[in-house]
């Protein structure tokens, strides 16, 4: 019986018009199939009624559609120009962003063999430091600095800060102390003094350490460290007992032993 029930169900779903005799006989004795049959017939009637429903005519005129189409075309026309512009704008922005991201790395790694002057030009803060590292050695007797045993890697590069000075300075000879000279006269005073006495050198001695703090006192007023010889290694001036440490521009990671552009230049 179940087989015939399934057969009748399949027959009803197949949209067949006539019921076979076997299924008709089964239908006479199966209540479940009679119910399905009645539902199917009712469905057919409602479907027929729905199909015969009077369908209203679409009275939408072409002129209305055409006007809407024209309005949309006009309103969307600027997008034709905006899209490529946006694309180019995005491309330029990406290129600028990449350039901005790469630029600091390029500035932090000076080329090997770069001169001090070039380095000073590339480092704005260096400009305030006394020029010419070679003059430092000439007048080095005035200042005796001993910083033996300070590893190059421990030196803060590029712009040293007070902490680095504190690391380097305790090794100075006790007999020689940094003298804290008077503060820099205003440029106008220096210029006037030079006018009065032409023998006064125009440049301050390179070894002069301006505003150097007393040792052991990190909170002293800031000072400027003069530039030191550009040597790949530390310079040991046996005559004065001064040893200069090689200090490089650039970041700590950019320091390479043996590079030729080490110098101490910076302001504190």
């Amino acid at each position: 019986m179940k087989h015939l029930c399934r057969e009748l169900e399949r027959h009803l779903e197949s949209e067949a018009e006539h019921l076979p005799d076997a299924l008709r006989a089964h239908l006479a004795g199966c209540v479940k199939c009679q119910r399905a049959w009645r539902l199917h017939r009712a469905y057919q009637r409602t479907l027929h009624a729905a199909r015969s429903e009077p369908m209203p005519a679409c009275e939408l005129p072409w002129s209305r559609v055409q006007a809407q189409l024209a309005a949309r075309t006009v309103s969307r026309r600027p997008l034709v120009w905006v899209r490529p512009a946006l694309g180019w704008g995005m491309a330029v922005a990406v290129v600028l962003a990449i350039g901005a991201a790469l630029l600091p790395w390029g500035n932090q790694q000076p080329l090997q063999g770069e001169t001090l002057a070039q380095a000073q030009r590339s480092e704005p803060r260096v400009a305030s430091a006394p020029p010419k590292a070679d003059t430092t050695r000439d007048a080095a007797g005035a200042v005796s600095i001993e910083a033996q045993g300070v590893a190059p890697a421990s030196i803060e590069l590029c712009v040293p800060d007070a902490r680095v000075v504190a690391q380097a300075t305790p090794r100075m000879c006790d007999s020689v102390r940094l003298q804290s000279p008077a503060p820099d006269p205003p440029p106008t005073d220096a210029y006037a003094a030079r006018l009065r006495n032409p023998e006064v050198p125009a440049r301050r001695p390179a070894d002069a350490v301006v505003g150097a703090p007393a040792f052991g006192s990190v909170s002293e007023p800031p000072f400027t460290v003069a530039s030191l010889p550009l040597t790949p290694f530390g310079v040991n001036d046996s005559a004065t007992g001064v040893e200069y440490l090689p200090i490089s521009y650039g970041s700590l990671s950019s320091y390479r032993e043996g590079s030729s552009n080490e110098a101490i230049i910076g302001s504190f």
């Binding site: 009645r38 479907l47 729905a50 939408l60 072409w62 189409l69």
Partner: protein, 201 residues
């Protein structure tokens, strides 16, 4: 003599030829396509909405969308099926946007009153037809959208399975299976309504 005015299009052109002209901006070709398919699209849309104004709005949207996207029309399918697909998609969007079944039933009641004009053949028969309509569409709007579309396309509009398969972008076998499932679901919804009006015991 067919072209009675300047810019008129040859009415013997096929839909695809007209579509090619319309793609190049030929307004007369667009108008011809519109006149050919305005009513068929309206029928499908009206079956879904049961509201003339809303159906006309959707018809307008269908043709606007079609003409704006004619460059995407691939001539692998017929223009009519492509248009019907757009219509069904817009109907689906509308159905999702608004829960308007109750409103439609109210409009159906208004429509029923409008039919009761003096020239109606038989008041009893009309009342029975209206009861059928009401039950039919009440059950239809209880169906999910994908089932409802199949009932409309296959059972109301009597489209062949191949056309439905093209419209829905699927195979004929899949369409047959989905129609069968839609009918089962529809009958499940319809049965209590028909029982309520005494159509079945």
């Amino acid at each position: 003599m067919d072209n009675l005015y300047a810019g008129a299009v040859d009415r013997t052109l096929t839909d695809e030829q007209l579509a090619a002209k319309a793609r190049e901006g030929d307004t007369a070709a667009m108008e011809e396509l519109y006149l050919r398919y305005r009513q068929p699209v309206f029928r499908i849309v009206y079956r879904s909405t049961r509201n003339t104004d809303e159906a006309e709005d959707i018809v307008q949207d269908v043709f606007l969308k079609a003409f704006e996207r004619l460059h995407t029309f691939r001539e692998q399918s017929r223009f009519s099926t492509w248009l019907m697909r757009i219509a069904l998609n817009l109907c689906t969007d509308r159905a999702r946007m608004r829960q308007r079944r109750q409103e439609l039933l109210e409009r159906e009641a208004e429509h029923k009153l409008a039919w009761s004009h003096p020239s109606a053949p038989d008041p009893m028969e009309t009342a029975q037809q209206n009861a059928f309509h009401e039950a039919f569409y009440a059950a239809l709007y209880q169906l999910p959208e994908h089932h409802r579309q199949l009932i409309i396309l296959r059972d109301l509009e009597e489209m062949d399975y191949e056309s439905i398969a093209q419209i829905l972008g699927t195979s004929v076998g899949a369409v047959k299976l989905r129609v069968m499932r839609a009918r089962r679901a529809f009958k499940t919804k319809l049965e209590p309504l028909l029982r309520a009006i005494g159509e079945i015991e």
